[in-house]
């Protein structure tokens, strides 16, 4: 079947029930979405589909309902997305493993709510970070909202 990933059409030969995460990582060599839990509990595998943050480890290939954007697809060349710029300004990442998912969750939040309150951030940003970068994530979202 065909998938549109980061604006490119990709041919995939895989069973319908294969999770999108493994299609992206193992079949298409797109490593930005990370494997964390396999049960949509941590958000490390977050991608965007039609602007929504989706946990790709729990979305079967057959259920993909639109073009997919991964962390690799939100910047244009060296021009980082404003959320990535804010992440850089605040030096959010520590180990960095969850950050692609965090950034995409923030992109989806700001797309829907350009000036999120703290409660909006709490509600939308449910991805797990074991390094404890939450205070910097919150600050970076506010910077990106003002940008």
């Amino acid at each position: 079947m065909q998938l549109i990933v980061n604006g490119q059409t990709r041919e995939v030969d895989a069973p319908d029930d294969m999770p999108l995460l493994w299609v992206l990582r193992d079949l298409l060599d797109i490593k930005g979405p990370k494997f964390g839990c396999g049960v949509a509990a941590c958000g490390a595998c977050t991608v965007l589909i039609e602007g929504q943050a989706v946990r790709s480890c729990a979305l079967a290939l057959g259920d993909v309902y639109g073009p997919i954007t991964t962390i690799e697809g939100i910047s244009q060349g060296d021009n980082l997305h404003k959320v990535q710029q804010a992440w850089a300004e605040h030096q959010v990442p520590q180990c960095g493993y969850c950050q692609a998912g965090q950034i995409l969750a923030a992109v989806a939040l700001l797309d829907e709510q350009p000036n999120p309150t703290d409660d909006d951030i709490d509600a939308a940003m449910t991805n797990l970070c074991r390094c404890g970068t939450y205070p910097k994530i919150r600050a970076a979202i506010k910077t990106a909202a003002g940008a």
Partner: protein, 763 residues
């Protein structure tokens, strides 16, 4: 020389576990440098200055870090140490993990193994530290842990940079036939101010590397620093915000296979019956093979992608042998209680006669409490994984790890080859926290690589496999007693903690034939005997339990246990005596000037948090402090329980590591470590049923999420006489500060972790 060697040997014996090899440690070996592992390994045109620095003709400057990046920012700070002396901006430097090699020994990590108090700075204490350092070099342990990376690199990396700079200046001086001290080095270029001539380091590198490169060059003073002491842009920042494939799990090789493991969930046991038919029928699965190593027994699944491998593992029909250890958490607790009733394994520190003083105290002035801490998983975001290729009798391994030498040695044993025939490429870690010191993921990958030789295979564990096959933060039970008269400072403390020995557990895993002896493993009572509270009478006793559950290092380890118990009990004492918890702590640290930095962090956190100011009803604050890994940390947590659930509103942390090399990164470490410590309280526990871990995934072993995270303020002081660590010291006080805040607000004292068993948290 004879004398030093003798003391060194004594140091070795003092460390217990390490004595087994019959070490003939001598000063000669200490002085002799280890071979440079980069020689012969780098491409043509790249000049090697020492094990830490190479410069290519195109002016690419590469730093090889002895320690690994797992989020703590060590690539950046180790590079900054070199950059400071090499006269290059950090942005010009590329960092790579050094290979597994003795040249990258970490002698700072075991410096404190001698058991001196962290604030001891006298000749004898430092002599013992130096001797432990000699031992560290002899053992050549290349480990990232113990919050020791910047301490280990503080001189080594600066000397590496300075030595290279001196050689570059020498080469330029020869080329221009002038004296080296007439030349200026800056921005990766050497200039002759007299003629205006300039050459890049790259243009001079080949000639410079042929010069004598001093291994012990003079270093610049603190006052001259341009980079160190200032916040830097992390060298890995861009990769980490653009999703670059930098982690072990991202490894991709031509012709690579994918695999996973299903290891026995009963520790040490194997399969008694298995049927692999359904597993082999899974589309994409090519083989299911038994695995048996010193770390576990079970099955490896080989497939064409990770998902197929996971499905294959799930389809294995198997019965495992019964556990030969207390099989559920209640039975485990009984073993801990029995150990506490038995004689202590060893004591550390202490003074006076605590038992006598407690016996003499009137019964209403005797306070006692029992604290319980569960086993905990590391739950790194990136599950365990390793990629291995076995070809022509040699193994190549790619993985995030905290101890490449241990990976090489373990894999060599699995394959029956020499450790010299194992090459370890260390990749970035999606979290380590001590879990990636362990070699289990490497051993299983090596075993599967032999099956598919010469093809490479990436072996990824499911989250469930990761959670149920950890090396857990030890469970512990502590009994605390104090003699406390109203209104006065307590004068006696008796501490007894039962916990398994990590050294013994690691010994079993790495040397099943000979290891596993429990020596005086200080992690059992860390966070108690090594703390500054000065009781006139104090006893700190460790009761070592062998529980059958694998235990390992975990962010701040013993201090995460002792820190909670000791600092909860100090709060209980203060309330019993009717004293302010901060004022009481301060009054117990007055007799020794070397504790002044400890008093300062408490005073500063009181000031920052508005300690003592009235709060609306339903809100309250708790305090805790812990000295760990050479760094003083005091924390205050403020909770709001007015909704009926505990909400952490604000938290303050003040830390003094003596010297901060990168303030932004240091603050991030303290803040992150505090969140790591608070996460425990919210529900983390590893329990057993039938000898198997009950918890499976983040839905039953979770950590703090954004909505639960307090607003955190971190302040830095630099009064301590010696340099401390950054990655771990923020963890130990956190849960105690929270429990103490809950008591201050509700009057409910919770002595069992996770606190969530007894009170609800906002989620």
């Amino acid at each position: 020389m004879g004398r030093v060697a003798k003391y060194t040997r004594r140091g070795a014996l003092g460390l217990g576990l390490l004595a087994a090899g019959g070490l003939g440690v001598g000063y000669y070996y200490y002085r002799k440098p280890y071979p440079n592992p980069l020689i012969g390994e780098l491409p043509e045109g790249v000049s090697i200055f020492n094990p830490f620095v190479s410069i290519a003709a195109d002016n690419t400057i590469t730093i090889y870090t002895p320690q690994a990046e797992m989020g703590q920012g060590v690539h950046t700070t180790l590079a900054a140490l070199v950059a400071e002396e090499l006269d290059v901006p950090l942005s010009m430097i590329k960092t790579e993990h050094g290979p597994a090699a003795k040249a990258y020994y970490n002698d700072a990590m075991i410096e404190e193994g001698g058991g001196d108090m962290a604030w001891e700075d006298g000749a004898m204490a430092n002599f013992r530290r130096n001797m432990m350092g000699v031992l560290g070099k002899f053992l050549a342990l290349q480990v990232t842990g113990g919050s020791s990376s910047t301490r280990n690199g503080f001189e080594k990396m600066r000397k590496a940079g300075a030595g290279a700079r001196i050689a570059l200046l020498g080469a330029a001086a020869e080329r221009w036939n002038v004296a080296p001290d007439t030349l200026v080095s800056d921005n990766g270029t050497i200039t002759d101010p007299a003629t205006g001539e300039a050459l890049t380091y790259g243009a001079l590198a080949a000639e410079a590397a042929a010069q004598h490169i001093p291994s012990n060059p003079p270093l610049r003073s603190h006052a001259e620093w341009k980079i160190l002491g200032k916040s830097q842009t992390r060298v890995d920042l861009h990769d980490k915000i653009t999703g670059a494939p930098i982690y072990g799990i991202d490894m991709q090789l031509p012709d690579m296979l994918y695999g996973t493991v299903l290891m026995s969930p009963v520790f040490g046991a194997g399969a008694v019956r298995s049927d692999l038919t359904a597993a082999l029928a899974v589309d994409g699965v090519s083989a299911v093979v038994p695995i048996e190593t010193s770390t576990g027994k079970g099955f490896g699944v080989i497939a064409t992608n990770t998902w197929a491998a996971f499905q294959g593992a799930a389809a294995i029909d198997v019965d495992w042998a019964a556990p030969d250890y207390p099989a559920n958490t209640d039975a485990q607790y009984a073993a801990f209680a029995a150990a506490l009733d038995a004689e202590a394994s060893f004591t550390k520190g202490g003074r006076g006669d605590a038992i006598e003083a407690l016996t003499a105290a009137p019964s209403d002035q005797r306070l006692s409490a029992e604290y319980r801490m569960p086993y905990l998983a590391h739950a790194t975001m990136e599950p365990m994984n390793a990629t291995a290729q076995f070809a022509d009798g040699k193994l190549t391994l790619w993985m995030g790890n905290q101890a490449p030498g241990l990976m090489a040695n373990g894999c060599a044993r699995v394959l029956g080859i020499s450790p010299d025939d194992v090459t370890v490429h260390t990749l970035q870690m999606g979290g380590g926290f001590g879990r990636r010191v362990e070699s289990d993921a490497a051993l299983y990958a090596a075993a599967l690589a032999r099956e598919v030789s010469p093809r490479p295979i990436k072996v990824t564990w499911s989250r469930e496999e990761d959670t149920t096959h950890g090396v857990y933060r030890p469970m512990a039970v502590g009994r605390f007693q104090a003699a406390v008269a109203p209104g006065t400072v307590p004068h006696a403390l008796n501490v007894a903690i039962a916990a398994p020995s990590i050294m013994a557990s690691m010994g079993k895993r790495s040397r099943p034939e000979g290891g596993g002896r429990s020596m005086d493993d200080r992690t059992v009572i860390d966070g108690t005997f090594d703390q500054p509270a000065q009781f006139a009478n104090a006893r700190y006793a460790a009761h070592v339990v062998d529980t059958g559950v694998p235990v390992g290092y975990w962010r701040s380890i013993g201090h995460s246990v002792g820190g909670f118990m000791h600092q909860s009990f100090m709060d209980e004492i203060a309330h019993h005596a009717g004293l302010d918890p901060i004022a009481m702590r301060l009054s117990m640290m007055t007799s020794d000037d070397r504790l002044a930095p400890g008093r300062a962090v408490l005073e500063r956190v009181a000031e920052l948090s508005g300690w003592g100011e009235a709060l609306p009803s339903g809100k309250g604050r708790g305090v805790a402090m812990c000295m760990s890994f050479g760094t003083w940390v005091a924390q205050v947590v403020q909770v709001d329980v007015s909704s009926g659930k505990v909400r952490m509103e604000k938290a303050w942390a003040v830390a003094d590591p003596g010297l901060v090399l990168d303030p932004d990164n240091f603050r991030a470490q303290i803040s992150g470590a505090m969140i790591f410590g608070l996460s425990q309280a919210l529900g983390q526990e590893i329990t057993l049923t039938g000898g198997q871990v009950d918890q499976q995934n983040f839905y039953d072993f979770d950590a703090m999420r954004m909505a639960q995270c307090p607003e955190i303020t971190v302040d830095i002081l630099e009064n301590a006489a010696r340099m401390g660590g950054a990655g771990e010291p923020g963890t130990p006080p956190a849960a105690a500060a929270l429990a103490n805040a809950i008591f201050a607000t509700t009057g409910q004292r919770i002595r069992t972790m996770p606190l969530s068993h007894e009170i609800g948290f906002y989620a």
